[in-house]
Every structure is written in C-alpha cells, then in structure tokens.
C-alpha cells in the first residue's frame, strides 16, 4: 500500500471511532445504509474489473496510445467527453477503468474529460432533470457542464 492509501485508512478509522463514541446508534444505522448501497454495487465492481483485464489483454497498449495518447488530443478529448455523457457507470468503477488506460499510455486529458462528463452530464437522467427543473435549466446545466469538462481537462494538461 502506498503512503496515501495508508493515510486515508488512518483518517477514516479515526473518524469512525469518533463517530462510534459520539453516537453508536447513528453510526450503526449509517453502516446498514452504506452496506446496502455498496452490497448492490460490489458485483458490478468485480465484473467491471475483470472486464478491464480482458480489454487490457486484447487491446495492445500501442493502439490505446495512438487513439487516446497525446498525439491527436482534441479528437480524443471530444470522444471521451461524449462517451462520458452517454454512459452510466458508477464513478466508483470509473476510476480503476480510467487508471488502467492511463497506465498503458492514454493521455490524461481525455481521461479527465471522461470522468467529468460521466458524473456531471447526464443524457440518461435528462428527462428526470427536465421534469424537476424544466427544459431550459436542464439544457443549460448539461451544456455548461460539458464545456466545463473540456476546459478542466485542458487545464489539467497544463498543471500536471
């Protein structure tokens, strides 16, 4: 385990003890709720990770580099952002997926665009959002989020 994972472990264990001491009942209730939520996701998580294994075996790193590498970034970013907008996989499993692509040579710019649109832009949830806030709000928010994803991705390239 790297130092940051250990750090996260320590922080969360300490906070958990604090929470137990402060209110045992609340903590137990929260655990039940979280267990339900994560339990329903764990099958999907394991399945996607094994899918990553297949993808990495069959798609040679050179071809990922040529498509998602830094050569033709603009096209790659737009494709990644679009892919993120239409897919509905939990952010949970998106991180190992994206991490695996970067490990074998994908540029981080499309990766950031994908992660950001995946969570903020929702084609699938569009009807629900429209029902709650109307067409104008929903269109604007999703369009702005899409634009923001592209700019954030570009800024990441400059920073990192």
């Amino acid at each position: 385990m790297d130092i940051f994972t250990i750090g996260f472990w320590l922080v969360s264990i300490v906070l958990f003890i604090v929470s137990l001491v402060k209110s045992k009942q609340k903590t137990v209730d929260a655990m039940k709720k979280s267990k339900m939520m994560m339990g329903s996701m764990i099958g999907e998580i394991v399945a996607i990770i094994f899918l990553i294994g297949i993808v990495l075996t069959f798609i040679p790193p050179e071809s990922i580099k040529s498509v998602l590498g830094s050569e033709n970034t603009l096209m790659a970013v737009i494709i990644a952002a679009l892919a993120g907008s239409i897919t509905l996989i939990p952010a949970f499993v998106a991180f190992p997926l994206v991490g695996s692509f970067i490990d074998i040579g994908a540029s981080i710019v499309p990766a950031v665009a994908f992660l950001t649109t995946l969570t903020m832009v929702g084609i699938v949830t569009f009807p629900l959002e429209k029902k709650a806030f109307g067409l104008k709000f929903t269109l604007m928010r999703n369009a702005l989020s899409f634009g923001a994803a592209l700019v954030i991705a570009a800024a990441m390239e400059v920073i990192l």
Binding site: K22, G53, R141, I159
Partner: protein
C-alpha cells in the same frame, strides 16, 4: 427459475464470466493474462473499498445534514455557495437523487446558483470517492481535478443564476407535490387574468403567473375556483384537498 433470476440480477457478471470461459477454451494463455491483469486492479480496489465504506458511514453519522439544509435558505452570497458545496459533496447517491432535495431547497428560497452548485457537487465532488480517485489516478491528479472542478462549479452556478430565473423553476413540477395551488409555467401565457381577479393570490413574475400565497385558506376557495375556470390555458392546478 432461481438461476435465471440470478443471471438477470447480475447480467454484467454473467456476461464477463461467459467471456472468460470462452477464452479459456479458445485461447487459454490470453485468459490467464486477462485474469492476471484483473487481479492486480482487484487487489487495489479492495485496498480502498473499506475506506470508502467507512468514510460514507462517518459522514452520514457525524454531519448534521438537516442543520445545513435548515440554515441554507437564510444564508446567501458566498457563505450560501459554500454550504451548497458542502451539502452536495457529503451526500451519497446518484445525481438524480439530488433533484428532489434541490427542489425543496428552491422552495425554501435557495438561489438558482446554489441549486446548480448542489447538483454539480453532488455529482462530482464525493468525499469518499476522493480516496478512490487518489488510489487509481494519483494524489496530484485527484487534487488538481478537485480544485478545478470546484472552481468551475461556482462559475457555472453564477452563469446559471444570470440565465435562468428562479420563479420559472419554482413553478415546474410543483403540481406533483402535495401543494394545494400551483401554476404550470409550461402552459401559462402570462395573460394576467388571474392576477387581476385575485392580486392577493397571484403575481406576474418574468412573464408568467406565480402563486404568492403561502397557505390556501377556505376563504380563498371560491375565488381560486373562479380563476381556475377563467385561465385560458388551464395552467392553474388546484387540489381542493380537505376543503370540500
């Protein structure tokens, strides 16, 4: 019947399992390679899963969400934006779970900017997920993306505040709730008939009629019914509830 149900419940898992079996038969060396690749990520995942679980529990148990929501309406300006960001970041669940709460905040007087901030941060800035992101993409990546995203969420809030009027959001979908009286802004043409008939109940805001009454009293019953009848587009929804 039971195995079929199991398959339907775990479609993805089943599909991946079948693929591995097929690979094992046709190209065993590829299957082992794929399995090896997966185990590496699986181990990484299980190093961070308990942390995500614990953080989710701690946030749920320690942070008084109701208190944040309660103070939300009163606070405006930058402090309100920060509260919105905190509320979104500590909440669990998919983005659409944020919609009803955001509607509720809106009815309590939250600005459009803050609603956008809640929805966006709900989607992206999950505190337990930061551990996950740092694990697979590095701390630098996580920190940089977090800072940039927060900045852009605030910018988006400000832009949306200028582009979308609050009152136009207020009216949408309220007829689905238990409200007794509401106006569907999709249908309202802003003719002003209802406002002329009952200025103490309706008001024109941004070219649409809105309800300004907090509670519908029995005394209002007759005049409301009259406006419902007069409305040219039948945009006024009146749930007579227990009055009748």
């Amino acid at each position: 019947m039971k195995p079929l149900q199991m398959i339907r419940k775990n479609k993805l898992m089943f599909a991946v399992g079948v693929t591995y079996l097929a690979l094992l038969v046709t190209m065993p060396e590829k299957a082992t390679q794929a399995f090896g690749n997966s185990v590496y990520y699986l181990v990484e995942m299980f190093q961070v899963l308990p942390v995500i679980f614990l953080l989710t529990v701690v946030i749920e148990a320690l942070i008084p969400k109701e208190m944040i929501i309660k103070r939300f309406g009163e606070k405006s300006g930058f402090m309100g934006n920060i509260l919105a960001l905190v509320l979104g970041s500590i909440s669990a669940g998919p983005i659409y779970a944020a919609f009803p709460i955001s509607k509720m905040l809106l009815s309590k007087g939250a600005s459009v900017a803050n609603v956008v901030i809640v929805i966006s941060s709900w989607a992206v800035v999950k505190v337990p997920m930061l551990a996950n992101e740092a694990k697979f993409l590095g701390v630098d990546f996580m920190a940089a993306r977090w800072v940039l995203t927060v900045i852009f969420i605030f910018v988006m809030g400000a832009v949306m505040n200028r582009l979308v009027s609050r009152s136009s959001l207020d009216a949408i979908g309220t007829q689905l709730e238990s409200d007794k009286l509401s106006i569907n802004s999709d249908f309202c043409v802003g003719c002003g008939i209802c406002v002329n008939m009952a200025p103490n109940i309706y008001e024109i805001s941004d070219k649409k009629a809105i309800v300004i009454l907090d509670t519908v009293l029995p005394a209002h019953h007759e005049i409301i019914l009259a406006t419902v009848k007069k409305c040219p587009t039948q945009a006024i929804a009146y749930n007579q509830g227990g009055i009748r």
